[in-house]
Amino acid sequence: MERRSNLRSIKSWNFFFLGCHCHAIIRWDAEGPFKPLHLMNPTRLAFIRSTLCRHFRKDPNCARPFEGLKFVDVGCGGGILSEPLARMGATVTGIDAIEKNIKIARLHADLDPITSSIDYRCTTAVIKFVRGRFLLSSYILTMRAENLVEERGEFDAVFALEVIEHVADPADFCKSLAELTVSEGATIISTINRSMRSYAAAIVAAEYILHWLPRGTHQWSSFLTPEELVLILQRASISVQEMAGFVYNPLTGRWSLSDDVGVNYIAL
């Protein structure tokens, strides 16, 4: 599949690179193939900071407001979200199904003493491709069973940014997320809306025209509208308190927060 071809394309060039070190350079290069993610990162962190400071009643002017809180970043990739959260004082656990991602994340995090405390974990569960789809939810269950049992329900906040659209069973996934947090904890999910605009922007523009993402990264049918996401989360006993959209300004090349949830959006 799409995800498989994504991995394959990574594999084809990684043969020439010596060491995960080079992967880290590519993934963390703000001008490289992961540029859109790097561009979006400060905007989503601004939302996370302001909403979580309100939620946990922390001082937003403090340099490390999340001191003493435990966060888990599901689908952490190269750690692009985990590292800023660690710099803001949180104790972060990053989990990802792909071992290479975890290696890259660890490599980069170890360069800075503050971020070297991030606990990155990878599962060794079997990953099946069912009709070429990445069966993330089964890995979550396995992980929960094997690795996170002792830590179930101990995280103050769970982050699943740009993950749920790759999951086969979002309802199941949300239930797993709910199990990971404490009772007054926070769950933050960001994804892409299922609308005409998002088809034009996230599939056609991003994959075919601008080549920001490899073709087939996203399936439009697996996108969730905000209403559907709210419903799924309610069934998993998570109430959605805040929601915001991300809007990209092609003139300035910057993402900003807005009320427009037409394409990308984030919910707390």
Partner: protein, 518 residues
């Protein structure tokens, strides 16, 4: 794609393969980036080839680590340090200041009785308010030079800054401060920031990329990786060194940091030198004067207590004359240049007393009815004369990975409008705001994407100001009949067309970022 449970065993590849791979261009890619350690062995896992490098000797020595290293402890560098110390988001950052001036480390020592320093800077109201925001006061010797007068010799007209401000709530004081570093150091002493002064010169800087070895066996502790691999390392002339996440070059127009970072500049030399010194009057002077002479402007800037500073732009030959001539001769030359020399006083006779333009301004500016004031006479010199060559310079970019340039290291301009240091202060405060925004979203403060925000904020404004000042300098350096008339007409228009005058004053005061666009 399937993955077997458990890890595949790593296979160690012998040295022959390693040797073979060394000749591969991709391998050289890594070497070029600065990893200078020999490979120890090769491992193959899945389809990755992993190279394990020798241990880094640097790892074992204890190099002090800072968040920000400011190279250059002048006005702009210290202003940045002050600003960082005053904001709640950034005050926890450790700052190192590297400057070889021994006075810097000894603490504030502005003595009211000392004669003023011959180097003077103009500080605009916008800069003053920026300092107030960060809790600093300008403690150096200042004078509330409330008005300024610019005289265009050719057209016998004058441009009175006082008139433009009165109606619109006042322009505030343009303060002329002695270029005294300790003014700001004092503020920093009072703040509980972790800072260190390194009283040495910088000798070299290296920007390590992430140079670390990968351990395949997860049992190996992560402490074996080089924590400092992602930082900039500065080596000092006294042999000490330090590492920093961000290196700020505030070390003046001949910036070593800019040279080490490989940032090229654009610019040209003016065929003019500036002669500066302190002079004394019989009475206290509250007015700043600038007279445009054929060779260049002469400026008289008040700094309180009957003292003023002269900044006289002349040809290089003339400047060596000025420096070498006797004190009395120089005083005479200065008075001649300011007052009677080169032509009569501007009066209100030309163009019917400005009545031509009264219909444009709703009420006439009060200066129109005043008779022309004469600059105060200089009675003696207060300091030695110094000569500096003048040039225009602008760095092609202000930021690269882990390096940012502020102040004269990024741009130098002609002193004719007193804007140079104000642009530098603007840079310092903008950079500190950008650093605060970066800390707020948990980003690495040395990241290029963050530093480029600072560049985007300041570059346009700085380039606009540089271009305008260069335009002024070129306009006033040509003595050609029709051009003189045109220039005079523009000057006259600026004096008597109130909206234009208001716009010019507010742009020069720093209240407006770009000229003529409100």
């Amino acid at each position: 794609m399937y993955r077997k449970k458990g890890k595949r065993k790593a296979k160690a590849v012998n040295g022959a393969v390693g040797e073979c791979l060394k000749s591969c261009t991709k391998f050289h890619f890594i070497h070029e980036k600065g990893i200078n350690r020999k490979p120890k062995c090769l491992h193959v896992v899945d389809n990755l080839i992993v190279l394990e490098l020798e241990d880094d000797p640097n790892r074992t020595t204890n190099i002090p680590q800072y968040d920000i290293a400011i190279v250059g402890g002048g006005m702009v560098g210290m202003a940045l340090a002050c600003s960082i110390a005053s904001m709640p988001l950034t005050k926890h950052l450790t700052v190192a200041i590297i400057d070889s001036n021994p006075a810097l480390a000894s603490g504030p020592c502005i003595n009211k009785d000392d004669p003023p320093d011959p180097r003077v800077s103009t500080v605009t109201p916008a800069t003053i308010s920026l300092f107030k925001d960060c809790g600093s006061k300008l403690e150096a010797k200042t004078s509330k030079g409330q008005v300024g007068k610019m005289v265009d010799l050719g057209s016998l007209l004058h441009f009175d800054l006082k008139g433009g401000g009165n109606r619109y709530g006042g322009i505030g004081a343009w303060e002329y401060v002695e270029q005294h570093r300790h003014a700001y150091f004092d503020k920093m002493q009072n703040k509980d920031i972790q800072k260190t002064i390194f009283p040495t010169r910088l000798s070299s800087m290296s920007l390590h990329p992430s140079s670390s070895s990968t351990a395949l066996d997860d049992k190996l502790s992560r402490a074996t990786l080089l924590h400092r691999g992602n930082l900039a390392k500065l080596e000092m002339s006294d042999g000490s060194s330090l590492c920093a996440k961000l290196v700020v070059g505030a070390d003046g127009s001949r910036s070593r940091i800019r040279e080490l970072a490989g940032i090229k500049t654009t610019g040209w030399k003016y065929s003019q030198n500036a002669v500066i010194c302190t002079v004394e009057h019989e009475e206290e002077n509250h007015c700043a004067w600038q007279r445009f002479l054929p060779a260049g402007p002469i400026a008289l800037l008040p700094i309180g207590d009957k003292f003023s500073n002269i900044v006289w732009t002349v040809d290089p030959k003339e400047s060596s004359n000025c420096k070498s001539m006797g004190e009395n001769d120089f005083v005479k030359a200065v008075n001649h240049a300011l007052d009677y020399g080169y032509g009569p006083h501007p009066g209100s006779r030309l163009f019917g007393g400005g009545n031509l333009f009264t219909w444009l301004g709703a009420d006439g500016t009060s200066s129109m009815n005043e008779s022309f004031e004469v600059p105060p006479k200089v009675v003696r010199l207060g300091s030695e004369r110094m000569v500096f060559p003048l040039s225009l310079m602008h760095a092609n970019y202000y930021a690269s990975k882990r390096v940012a340039l502020i102040g004269d290291a990024a741009h130098t301009v002609h002193p004719l409008a007193g804007q140079g240091v104000n642009m530098g202060f603007g840079d310092a405060f903008s950079l500190s705001k950008v650093i605060a925004e970066g800390v707020a979203v948990g980003s690495d403060i040395g990241e290029v994407s963050l530093l480029k925000k600072y560049e985007a904020d300041r570059k346009t404004a700085n380039i606009a100001m540089t271009a305008i000042l260069d335009g002024f300098q070129k306009a006033y350096s040509v003595d050609f009949g029709p051009l003189n008339v045109l220039r005079a007409a523009a000057f006259h228009g600026a004096q008597y067309i109130s909206p234009l005058k208001r716009s010019i004053i507010s742009y020069a005061s720093g209240e407006q970022r770009l000229p003529l666009i409100t």
